[in-house]
């Protein structure tokens, strides 16, 4: 192996094999195919093992990146996964969906002059290797404490809290509103980007550790927080996500053929509607599809529409390419698959036929003006630049807000002006005694890793509370 320092720089970043765009744009199988051991070790050999690694400080949960990379290089895959697990409970997920280019890889020293180490690919490799070859041995658990914890929501933050606290000897039950656990990982992010078998395996792992999962439990309706306390739970963690779809609020939005990305992706992913009629949940198949927005949710919606057989799929976004919030890899993959980007364009009205079905959309062109509160240049309409586009399906992916179902049924939680739960930043403690919160319901729609990071902090604080008091 190339371990002489001089030679390291000459090895190029190892590309991961992928399904060809022409093939994958019509199937739901995963796009990147994974590294071979040889490729992984070649990539691992590029790492300089920095004394003060930028990558680790760029990681929201401070994974010991040079450490696990060194293990891969040495071929000790058990040590590699142990190392990752030390900070990150879901490496197979994060290796696939984290925005590495603005986190670890964005801070990698090699990126200053060339390509950073492919940290995400290596993380994924280590986790996939464990899934394929690992012993499946359970990590040690502390003796039972007799304390009961309820985790509300089974997204990445809830799963993290459950995993951490079960290992510390507490009795943990997850309450999930949907009929399946996993949060956005099962209902939002599509199969071709995150195979559901991986999420299922992570959930099953928690169950093997002793975590109980109550699906179909809408907390706030089926049971309230105070009732959970009455039933003997000592602490509650709220990881309910940001499940409230935003719409454009422009005329014609209730025409048939306009769906929130939440609805569209839930039908496709959770309900597996892409297999209709083999499953019973239908999903509209568009000929000409527009997707509003340019985040990961928009890319996932556009690529799903393409896979369901659309003739054309357009992303309509009011800002420019630079401001697109999606991961770089998603934008790249979407374009390779033939998805068109209509930038600096904003819809003003939907157009329908006499049957109330969408037939098109009126848009206006935008230009960038002065920076707004987010620091990004504010898009302003160019007068007289209206244009009409034809479309029979429109997926609205312009962000989400705080779902009020649980928070409104619990009067003593404090919310900020957008309806998100207010917490103490370092612990995730809410204003209600014995209740913690984290993830998207605190920060607004963010990322998997931030939701997990919040979960870990809260788990530490909950443990302290259960052992020492509030």
């Amino acid at each position: 192996m190339a371990d002489k320092p001089g030679k390291k720089k000459t090895i190029p970043r190892q590309a991961m094999a992928e399904q060809e765009p022409e093939v994958r744009r019509r199937n739901f199988e995963e796009v990147p195919l994974g590294y071979t051991m040889e490729q992984a070790q070649m990539e691992a050999s590029r790492c300089l093992q920095c004394r003060k690694p930028g990558c680790t400080s760029g990681c929201p949960v401070s994974v010991d990146i040079p450490g696990f990379i060194q293990c891969i290089l040495e071929g000790d895959m058990t040590a590699a996964i142990r190392n990752l697990w030390g900070k990150n409970a879901l490496p197979a997920v994060c290796g696939r969906v984290c925005p590495q280019e603005i986190q670890c890889e964005g801070e990698c020293i090699l990126g200053k002059k060339g390509d950073p180490v492919a940290i995400g690919n290596l993380e994924r490799f280590a986790a996939d290797y464990e899934r394929a070859h690992g012993s499946g041995e359970l990590p040690p658990k502390l003796p039972p404490t007799g304390k009961k914890v309820a985790v509300v929501g089974s997204g990445p933050s809830g799963l993290t809290v459950a995993g951490d606290l079960i290992a510390k000897g507490h009795d943990v039950t997850i309450f999930e509103a949907f009929h399946k656990a996993g949060g956005v990982l099962v209902y939002g992010i599509p199969e071709f980007r995150l195979p559901k078998a991986i999420v299922g395996q992570e959930v099953h792992f928690l169950e093997r550790l002793g975590v109980k999962i109550e699906c179909n439990a809408v907390v706030g309706r089926t049971v309230s927080l105070d009732e959970l306390f009455e039933e003997g739970y000592d602490a509650i963690y709220l990881g309910v996500g940001a499940g409230l779809p935003r719409f454009m609020n422009i005329p014609g939005e209730n025409l048939v053929g306009i769906l929130s990305a939440n609805e569209y992706l839930t039908r496709a992913n959770l309900m597996k509607a892409y297999k209709f009629p083999d499953v019973d949940t239908p999903i509209p198949i568009g000929k000409n599809v527009t997707v509003l927005g340019a985040g990961n949710v928009a890319m996932d919606s556009a690529r799903t529409a393409m896979r369901l057989g659309a003739d054309s799929v357009r992303i309509v976004y009011r800002r420019s390419r630079q401001e697109m919030p999606a991961r770089a890899a998603e934008i790249h993959h979407a374009e390779e698959e033939g998805i068109e980007m209509m930038l600096l364009t904003n819809p003003t009205r939907y157009i329908g036929d006499e049957k109330g079905r969408l037939t098109g959309m009126e848009c206006i062109q935008m230009e960038l003006g002065e920076p707004d509160d987010s620091g990004r240049r504010r898009p302003v309409p160019i007068p007289g630049s209206e244009l009409e586009i034809e479309c029979d399906l429109c997926i609205v992916a312009v962000g989400s807000g705080a779902n009020p179902l649980l928070t409104q049924s619990t009067s003593d939680l404090q919310l900020n002006k957008w309806g998100y739960i207010m917490t103490e930043p370092n612990t995730g403690k809410t204003f209600k005694r014995g209740v913690w919160a984290g993830g998207d319901i605190v920060t607004g729609a963010a990322t998997v890793i931030l939701a997990m990071g919040a979960g870990r902090k809260a788990a530490d604080s909950i443990h302290e509370y259960l052992v020492y008091g509030w």
Partner: protein, 278 residues
């Protein structure tokens, strides 16, 4: 699994009653609220408003009409079988209050939804007149229960095979004309709610309707259930399912209910072919 403990066929076996074991939901259920049911792994999530909930027995009752693949599949479930998933109680309960003279109007399986509301309204001290209707005598459901739950019952059939010959809107208009109505509650097919609301609006009678748009999650997360009420978009699963009958855009609701009619037909037909082959 949520076990079926009692099952009845009604209206020439086009309407099915299931009493289902779901103690946690039964404990919380209030008139006007609904549950979402899913029969099996591949199943669709179907919202149904509850006709009854029994806290002691820990059961809830739903009554549904067989209209497509999913309800045809539900129909095959017998006592002892069950649903893989039942979620609820969802939606806002009916606001039950003593207002005076109340008319409860139900059409088709809407009568099932109307039943617990009628009962609660009477128990709250109102004088309740119930008007229920169906296409013909055989399709009428819950006549006895509705008679018991109300102070007075008027039955209508479209073909005159039983009770008043005509639509439920006829006796409703008569009652409105008499002028002593304080509230109307109308539940049934969308056209019925639309026309009945027009009548109560003419006479300024405050009116509630219960809407049944297409839903997925039932928790306000997808927006698939959106309806226009007074020019504003509402999510029926969390803001409703009951709304001011004079403000609902029924025409939009009818169009939105047709969103998947092609797909549903395809799915139902292939299901029937397979079922009949077996």
């Amino acid at each position: 699994m949520f076990k079926i403990v009692h099952r009845e066929e009604m209206a020439d076996a086009t309407v099915i009653l299931n009493e289902i074991e779901a103690p946690l939901i039964a404990r919380k259920a209030k008139p006007g609220q609904f549950v979402i049911l899913k029969a099996n792994e591949e199943g669709e999530r179907i919202p149904l408003t509850m006709a009854e909930a029994n806290v002691e027995k820990g059961t809830l009752t739903v009554i549904y009409m067989v209209v497509g693949k999913s309800t045809a599949l539900f129909k095959t479930l017998q006592v002892g079988d069950g649903y893989q998933d039942v979620i609820g109680p969802l939606g806002k309960p009916t606001h039950i209050e003593k207002v005076g003279n109340v008319v409860c109007v139900g059409g088709g399986t809407g009568v099932a939804v109307l039943y617990p509301i009628t009962k609660a309204m009477k128990e709250a001290g109102n004088h309740v007149t119930a008007i229920i209707g169906a296409r013909n005598k055989d399709l009428l459901i819950l006549e006895d229960k509705m008679r018991e739950a109300s102070n007075e019952l008027i039955v209508c059939t479209d073909d005159g095979s039983y009770g008043h010959h005509g639509f439920v809107t006829d006796p409703l208009r008569e009652m409105c004309e008499k002028g002593s109505l304080n509230q109307a509650i109308l539940i049934g097919p969308v056209p019925m709610m639309k026309f009945a609301s027009k009548i109560t609006e003419e006479y300024d009678v405050p009116t509630l309707v219960s809407l049944n748009p297409i839903m997925v999650d039932g928790t306000g997360m997808c927006g698939g259930c959106r309806v226009s009420v007074g020019g504003e978009t509402k999510f029926a699963c969390v803001d409703g399912p009951e709304f001011d009958g004079h403000k609902v855009d029924y025409d939009e609701l009818m169009l939105r209910l047709q969103a998947y009619c092609e797909e549903e037909k395809q799915c139902y037909e292939s299901y029937c072919t397979i079922r009949d082959a077996v």
